[in-house]
Symmetry: C2
Subunit: 137 residues, 2 copies
């Protein structure tokens, strides 16, 4: 269910997005940020507000790792521009999260659709493996 009211928390979150840009963040990141500024926001409200924003399509939610917390990313209305061919790689060893922007991903998307009847969601999919540094060892 999308948001209906423009509340204080909702506006504060947009301020957070402006300040942090297009970085990844977790619920506890947001919580700590506002605690530090003396503007406390309950984690429950953060979860619920972000959930609404995901429904609206202005925030993406990634489940990067089962053991750690979910990762969010503000994309605003740029979903179909900057983020269309954007996907994520996570190094299993050092934990680094790598942003990759590449048109060749479309081949994978088409392949899965044509040969396996599966509509890939690149925003939700994370590739696991080893980054350059860790693979050398």
């Amino acid at each position: 269910m999308a948001s209906q009211y423009k509340t204080k928390n909702r506006n504060l979150l947009f301020e957070y997005f402006e300040e942090k840009g297009y970085e990844h963040f977790t619920v506890s990141d947001v919580s700590a940020f506002f605690d530090q500024k003396g503007q406390h926001m309950g984690v429950t409200s953060i979860y619920r507000q972000l959930e609404k924003m995901v429904d609206e399509g202005i925030v993406n939610k990634y489940i990067i790792d089962g053991t750690s917390s979910a990762c969010f990313e503000y994309v605003g209305n740029n979903i179909h521009h900057e983020h269309e061919n954007c996907f994520h790689c996570k190094c299993e060893k050092c934990g680094k999260l790598i942003h990759i922007q590449c048109d060749d991903l479309n081949e994978l998307k088409n392949h899965l659709l044509q040969h396996h009847d599966f509509v890939l969601n690149p925003l939700r999919t994370v590739f696991y493996g080893l980054c350059q540094e860790c693979a050398k060892r």
Copy 2:
């Protein structure tokens, strides 16, 4: 750290694998299975035995979804045969987990390696999206 002793629990787990074949299962699946047969096995022991087996390479661990429990799969010594080109797709809508076996996905692997210096781990990676039935709606 791999297993050193051949204990009762370890043998029971192998019996479970034989009975269930190459299906996916969770820790609670195993727990419920043995509870039902009157052979209780503590979840702690299941976690620890499976962890050893993952280290030995005879069991794969997938983190299918951040909110639900981890998914395991017995592969025995067939890792480098049947499971080399095996990928998983998870439908975001109905939750179905689809096994895909396809050589063309090696292209993805090679692309990530050559253009992005990333060594993909297909056993750990899950594609998210919509399955055939859910995509029709």
